[in-house]
C-alpha cells in the first residue's frame, strides 16, 4: 500500500502526533484508520450511505476529496492528506 502523509487536527490527534505516515490506497483506508483512532465518532466521519460526512473534509494535496472521487479517491506514495473539520463562515 502507498505510504501517505496524514495531517490531523488536534482534536483528532488527541495527544499523539498531528503529522503521521500511514499506509492507504484510498481515502476509505484513511477513514478506516481514523475510525480505529476514534471509534466514538465513526458515525460523524461516515454517513449512513457510506460517503464521507461533511463534518470532516479530506484534502488530498490541497484538493477536497469530495470533489475527486469521495472515499474512492486513490492515493499514491508521498500524497499529503489533510483532515479538516467543517468550518463556519465567513
Amino acid at each position: 500500500m502507498p505510504k501517505v502523509k496524514l495531517v490531523l487536527p488536534s482534536i483528532l490527534a488527541c495527544s499523539g502526533d498531528k503529522v503521521r505516515e500511514i499506509e492507504a490506497s484510498t481515502i476509505r483506508d484513511v477513514v478506516e484508520y481514523l475510525c480505529s483512532l476514534r471509534p466514538d465518532i465513526k458515525s460523524r466521519i461516515i454517513s449512513h450511505d457510506g460517503e464521507i460526512n461533511t463534518f470532516l473534509n479530506f484534502y488530498v494535496n490541497g484538493v477536497n476529496a469530495y470533489f475527486i472521487k469521495g472515499v474512492e479517491t486513490e492515493l499514491k506514495d508521498g500524497d499529503e492528506v489533510s483532515v479538516i473539520p467543517a468550518l463556519g463562515g465567513g
Binding site: V7, P9, S10, K18, S47, N53, T54, F55, N57, Y59, G62, N64, Y66, F67, S82, I84, P85, A86, L87, G88, G89, G90
Partner: protein, 315 residues
C-alpha cells in the same frame, strides 16, 4: 426589518469578532485572524487593532476589493487564495494548527457564535421583550441561523420570552447547498464548488453548519428558499427606495426570500416577521450600477440645468 449595519465595521460580524477576540486576549494568543467571504475580514481586523494583536486574513480572490481595503486599513495582513472560500478556509485551518493564532471561525469559533447570538437578544429587546413569529436569516455556512436559535432558546429558558419562533434561511441560487438539501428532503449537505452569485459574502460551498441549520429549520417549522441575482438586486433597490436602507446583496437576500415565501404561500397573513439585514451597501457600492441611472454632468450654468430638467421632464 432588523438592520445590523451600524456596528463599527457595518455588518453583524462585529458581534462575532468582538467576543472571539476578547477571548483570544484572555487566552493570551499571539495573533488572530480569520477566513472570510469579506465581512468577517474587516470585523476581525478592526477588533484586532483595538486589541493590539496582529491579524492574518485568508480570503478567496473573488472577495470585493472594498472589503479588502477596509480590512487592510486596520493593518491586517491579507492572504488571497486563488480558489473558493472553502479552500481559503483549509489553509486558515492549517495555519491555526501550526501557529499559536486564534482564527475566529476555526479554533476560537465557539465564542464567535456567542457574539452572533446577541442579534437574537436585540431583536426581542427591541420588540419590548417578546419574540416575533418568524425570523428570516441569510445563510452562508448556516452559523448565524443557529446562533439566532441559540439566543432565542436562552431567552426562553430565562423566561424573558415565550412562544415559538419559526426560523427560515435564504441563500443565493448560485450557492445554495443548504436550500438544495432542504428542498430535496436530504439530511446531509452536498457541497458545491461551482459558485456564481452577486452575494459574494454568502458564497460558501461547503457550509460547516449546514446540517445543523437544516435541523433548526425543520424543528422550528421554518422554511428555506433560494433567490436569483435579479431578485437580490430587486431587494437591494427596494430597500433603498422604499425604506431608505442601503444594504449589500448578502444582507438583502432575506427580503428577496420573504417575497418568494409570500408568493409560494409559505407565510401566514398574520405572521409577524423579522428579516435580518446583515451588511451595509457601502461595502459593495459597485453593484448599484446594475440598476441606477448615471448622474447628470452639467457645466455650472442655469441654462444647462434647465436643459437637463427638460430631458427629465421635471420642469
Amino acid at each position: 426589518m432588523k438592520e445590523d449595519i451600524t456596528n463599527p465595521t457595518h455588518s453583524f460580524k462585529d458581534r462575532a469578532a468582538s467576543v472571539a477576540i476578547s477571548k483570544a486576549l484572555e487566552f493570551k494568543l499571539n495573533a488572530v485572524g480569520c477566513a472570510s467571504t469579506g465581512n468577517l475580514a474587516a470585523a476581525t481586523a478592526a477588533h484586532a487593532s483595538r486589541a493590539g494583536l496582529p491579524c492574518y486574513i485568508f480570503a478567496p480572490v473573488g472577495v470585493e476589493r472594498e472589503k479588502l481595503s477596509h480590512a487592510l486599513s486596520y493593518g491586517a495582513r491579507i492572504v488571497l487564495v486563488e480558489g473558493t472560500y472553502d479552500e481559503a478556509n483549509w489553509i486558515a485551518s492549517r495555519f491555526a494548527e501550526e501557529h499559536n493564532v486564534g482564527i475566529v471561525n476555526v479554533n476560537i469559533r465557539p465564542y464567535y457564535v456567542e457574539g452572533s447570538k446577541t442579534l437574537a437578544f436585540e431583536i426581542c429587546e427591541q420588540l419590548g421583550w417578546r419574540s416575533p413569529d418568524h425570523i428570516i436569516i441569510p445563510m452562508a455556512s448556516g452559523a448565524l441561523l443557529n446562533a439566532i436559535d441559540k439566543g432565542l432558546n436562552e431567552l426562553k429558558t430565562l423566561g424573558l420570552i415565550d412562544g415559538d419562533v419559526r426560523i427560515s434561511g435564504v441563500q443565493p441560487e448560485g450557492c445554495s447547498p443548504i436550500v438544495s438539501a432542504y428542498r430535496e428532503g436530504r439530511e446531509y449537505i452536498k457541497p458545491v464548488r461551482d459558485i456564481n452569485t452577486i452575494a459574494v459574502s454568502l458564497a460558501i460551498g461547503n457550509p460547516g453548519d449546514g446540517v445543523y441549520a437544516l435541523r433548526t429549520i425543520h424543528r422550528t417549522r421554518g422554511t428555506a428558499v433560494s433567490v436569483t441575482d435579479q431578485e437580490i438586486l430587486g431587494a437591494v433597490r427596494d430597500l433603498a427606495r422604499l425604506e431608505g436602507l442601503f444594504i449589500e446583496p448578502g444582507g438583502a437576500v432575506t427580503i428577496a426570500g420573504l417575497r418568494k415565501m409570500v408568493e409560494e404561500r409559505l407565510i401566514e397573513k398574520d405572521e409577524e416577521i423579522v428579516c435580518l439585514l446583515t451588511g451595509s451597501g457601502l461595502k459593495t457600492p459597485h453593484i448599484i450600477q446594475h440598476y441606477v441611472p448615471q448622474p447628470f454632468i452639467i457645466k455650472p450654468s442655469i441654462g444647462e440645468l434647465k436643459k437637463m430638467l427638460e430631458v427629465e421632464k421635471l420642469a
